[in-house]
């Protein structure tokens, strides 16, 4: 069957509908979807989790998770209909004509086979080549995706490559048989910014040079603005808007697109609050009229007025042993944090920014006492925490510092009700006279974070990611802390949810006069939230400056490098929305 258009597109999807039958009726993941991709073009598909982005990719290569099924529509690859083929015919298209790149390079490669085996087997599957020819092709491919010394490294196993290098190997694997089309599903989400920029450049160059059409599926507007030629915006299984990247980014038509773009933290200037994303449904807002100044949460604070720094690190050092040996000379160490000194004043939001492995989270764990520093001192409210001998002596300080973790799915006990999760620290620190008071505090906290007291009887799995992060915040506030450590609190969340959670944190910070240590790899988020920022790399603190100074006048070369990599939405005028 040939499409009746004069100029045939590389990929044409018409009227696609994908359903997942379940006991409670059919869930429609994608409906009424029309898309085209031209050779050499990058089509970005953007949307939040659950919008059906990945389902499209899986449907095109015929790998929908059962019981998912494409019930309507056609998919044409250069005029050949490729939906509803049998398995054997599908497999001839997968890898040969359509390549696929997945999100997490750390888990995409078979850990037990060498890179060579994986490449050669894939090449031989699709091309009629001998072992030696396939191998030389594999080495060529590795060279093209920018792996240095390919002839040597091809014999290695995946674990011997870094994350960015592994993603290059994944790309090489997707290109084994010269496909006409590549589907990349969140290809850089698991990577650091500097590596992300390299991988995106590589993918752009490959599309241009080989005239490969690409579908780039992502939730990240920054990635889209840097990479895609055209964009399709998805919301709840439908494309709400399609257009050139220029048009979508600067003159979006649909309300959802406008909301989505305005929720992206702005790298170029600081706003007082994130714009309220009105289009997004079930956005919880805190009840009006809850005056925190007279509330119990705010009251306790009066007893400790402080003039000096609340938290102070002096030459804090953390050394982990990575190889044990009887002989000291053969032991290997990793210095995760190297002689870091900084101070956080009361009421300040101090940011720590850096790539993965830079030691940010290790510092958080040293301050809370999860790790005992191997050198230096950590002072909290004038007391040297490193000198405290027993857990009992540290307990009153523990109460005053609380932590919010990155992953809202694993940081809440799935077998406890929300009320027990929040009351647990209250009972532990004996913060209430009786059970009744604890319950009252718990209900107030749920109101404060905008969940409402009907959430108390539910279990964590009944909530979405953003709601769970609100529960984490309520739990952290339960002991009436003065110091809150947020370790990447929003990096697992969608942008619209991120905006809500960050607004909540900002409000609570100013109303309760909390001091915060805010850890993130995301520079725009740091700019929106923090008063002062420290930049970390390889365990060292390179630069500390007030946020605006750091962004406008960075001193250290690495800071400049990071800022350069930050997506700028270059050439696009960001739509101004009322805040």
């Amino acid at each position: 069957m040939k499409a009746d258009v004069e100029k045939e597109s590389l990929l044409t999807i018409e009227g696609m509908r994908v359903e997942f039958p379940s006991r409670r009726g059919h869930v429609v993941a994608v409906e009424r979807l029309d898309l085209t991709v031209e050779p050499g073009e990058i089509l970005g598909i953007v949307g939040e989790s659950g919008a059906g982005k990945s389902t499209i990719g899986n449907a095109v290569i015929g790998l929908l998770e059962p019981p998912g099924e494409m019930t309507e529509g056609t998919i044409l690859l250069k005029g050949d209909r490729i939906d509803h083929l049998d398995d054997a015919a599908q497999r001839k298209i997968r890898g040969a004509r359509i390549g696929m790149i997945f999100q997490d390079p750390l888990t995409s490669l078979d850990p037990l086979q060498t890179i060579e085996r994986q490449l050669v087997d894939t090449i031989q599957r699709h091309l009629n080549l001998g072992e030696a020819e396939a191998r030389s092709r594999a080495v060529d491919l590795l060279d093209q995706v920018g792996i240095p010394d390919p002839a040597v490294r091809i014999a290695q196993y995946p674990h011997q490559f870094s994350g960015g290098m592994r993603q290059r190997v994944v790309i090489a694997l997707a290109l084994c048989a010269d496909p006409e089309m590549v589907i990349a599903d969140e290809p850089t989400t698991a990577l650091d910014v500097s590596v992300q920029a390299q991988i995106l450049d590589l993918m752009k160059a490959l599309c241009r040079d080989r005239q490969v059409g690409m579908i780039l599926i992502t939730h990240d507007m920054g990635v889209i603005s840097e990479t895609a030629d055209r964009v399709a915006v998805m919301y709840r299984g439908r494309v709400v808007e399609t257009g050139t990247t220029q048009q979508i980014m600067s003159k979006p038509n649909h309300d959802y697109t406008k909301s989505l773009i305005s929720a992206v933290p702005r790298p170029d200037k600081r706003l007082k609050r994130f714009p309220l994303v009105t289009y997004i449904e079930d956005a919880e807002e805190r009840p009006e009229g809850l005056n925190l100044a007279t509330h119990w949460l705010g009251k306790v604070r009066e007893e400790h007025k402080l003039t000096g720094n609340l938290v102070e690190l002096k030459d804090a050092h953390m050394r982990f042993i990575t190889r044990h040996s009887l002989f000291p000379s053969r032991r290997l160490f990793l210095d995760a944090v190297k002689d870091v000194s900084f101070a956080i004043q009361p009421g300040e939001v101090f940011g720590l920014v850096g790539e993965s492995g830079s030691g940010k989270s290790t510092i958080a764990r040293m301050i809370t006492g999860i790790y005992k520093p191997s050198g230096g001192t950590i002072t909290f409210d004038g007391t040297d925490m490193t000198a405290l001998e027993s857990r009992a002596a540290a307990a009153p300080f523990r109460r005053q510092m609380q932590m919010i973790f990155q992953d809202p799915f694993s940081s809440l006990n799935p077998r406890m009700r929300v009320e027990d999760i929040i009351e647990e620290p209250i009972h532990f620190h004996k913060m209430a006279y009786d059970r009744q008071e604890a319950t009252q505090i718990m209900h107030d906290l749920l109101d404060v974070v905008g969940l409402g007291s009907q959430a108390a009887r539910k279990f964590p799995h009944e909530f979405s990611g953003g709601q769970r992060q609100r529960i984490s915040i309520a739990r952290a506030l339960a002991t009436r802390p003065r110091f809150l450590i947020c370790d990447e609190p929003t990096s697992a969340l969608d942008v619209s949810i991120q905006a809500q959670v960050l607004n909540l944190l900002k409000d609570l910070q100013s109303e309760l006069n909390l001091t915060m240590l805010f850890i993130s790899h995301d520079l725009p988020v740091i700019r929106q939230v923090c008063d002062r920022v420290g930049v970390m790399r390889h365990g060292k603190l390179l630069e500390v400056a007030p946020t605006e100074t750091l962004f406008t006048d960075p001193q250290h070369d690495y800071t400049k490098h990071l800022l350069k990599l930050m997506p700028k939405f270059r050439g696009f005028r960001m739509p101004e929305l009322e805040t």
Binding site: R91, L109, L112, R153, A177
Partner: protein, 326 residues
């Protein structure tokens, strides 16, 4: 790699010494060795003399040292009951137990692994469902009951298979094998199945759940997305990754097959070490009990050492020189 093996060897020796200590304490605390060795009519003087001669008046460490050195050379003294060197008795019985255990282990793996793979790949076929139901039976029925039921059916009702003993054996040097005669093979069938059934269902369920886990991983999805053949994805990518945990459990199970052959051996009157041990317990024949204990511990330690090394062979991530260019 070498340091790894050296470390494991040191650990193994420590384990063996500990087990040796327990075995040795049997002599001191279970019964009186002199009483066990001599008859009623031995005079008190003779007993004292014997005690001195056997070194039972020496210090604890000296006695244990002597026991350990002798045990390391395979010398566990004389059986009280049989009046023969324990090492000879064990050497006679060892082939029977090892043949039974190895055949059972082979059966368990040869049937259990394919069944596990099948039930993982064809999760919803009726055959998978019947395998799963059968495995429930295999896991819940106690070994001796299965043995007795088999004897009743094939031995008593149908009269196809012998119900006890090893049948005719052939001597190959000191090793006596029942694998070369028809009656030997026939006798092996029921005990081997009885012993294998539990392990087989265990391996099948383990392979199935591990494989289902692996099938959900990204690298299996990515292998599919590259158009690799289904057979390749299932057997080269998924199965190999499944085997890593399966090796450990199977290794440990082989140890317990040898150790727990006791029950099967007594049901089928199989002339192996287990039967020897049961009889020794009945007669308070401590040298045999001590030797059996040390020998089984030795099997466990050796199998574990092999499993640890296999692990390194299968999984490149565990090789020590993995400091590639990062």
């Amino acid at each position: 790699m070498l340091t790894f093996i050296a470390k494991r060897l040191v650990q193994s020796i420590l384990v063996m010494l500990t087990v040796g200590l327990i075995a040795f304490s049997l002599f001191r605390y279970v019964g009186d060795p002199i009483n066990n060795m001599v008859g009623q009519d031995t005079s008190l003087e003779e007993r004292v003399e014997l005690k001195e001669k056997l070194g039972l008046n020496d210090g604890f460490l000296l006695q244990f040292g002597r026991f350990a050195v002798n045990a390391a050379q395979g010398n566990f003294g004389f059986s009280y009951q049989h009046r023969r060197p324990v090492s000879d008795l064990i050497a006679e019985r060892l082939p029977a137990t090892l043949e039974l255990s190895l055949v059972s282990a082979f059966l368990a793996m040869a049937i259990g692994i394919p069944m596990g793979v099948y039930t993982a790949i064809r999760r919803n076929s009726w055959l998978s469902h019947s395998f799963m139901t059968l495995s429930l039976v295999g896991i819940s029925l106690p070994t001796f009951l299965i043995g007795i039921l088999l004897i009743l059916l094939f031995g008593v009702v149908l009269r196809w298979l012998p119900t006890f003993g090893r049948g005719d054996v052939v001597q190959l040097g000191w090793w006596s094998t029942g694998l070369l005669t028809a009656s030997g093979l026939k006798s092996l069938i029921m005990p081997a199945i009885t012993l294998a059934l539990f392990q087989m269902t265990l391996i099948m369920r383990l392979v199935r759940s591990e494989m289902l886990e692996v099938m959900r991983t990204d690298f299996v999805k990515f292998a599919r997305a590259r158009g690799l053949a289904e057979r390749y994805v299932n057997f080269v990518v998924a199965l190999k990754n499944t085997m890593v945990p399966v090796i450990t459990i199977t290794g440990l199970q082989l140890g317990s097959i040898i150790a727990f052959a006791i029950i099967t051996e007594s049901v089928f009157q199989w002339p192996g070490m287990g039967l020897l041990f049961i009889q020794a317990v009945g007669n308070v024949d401590i040298p045999i009990m001590a030797a059996y204990l040390v020998l089984i511990a030795f099997f466990f330690v050796v199998i574990n050492l092999i499993v640890d090394m296999l692990y390194v062979v299968v999984d490149p991530r565990l090789r020590v020189d993995s400091a590639g260019g990062h």
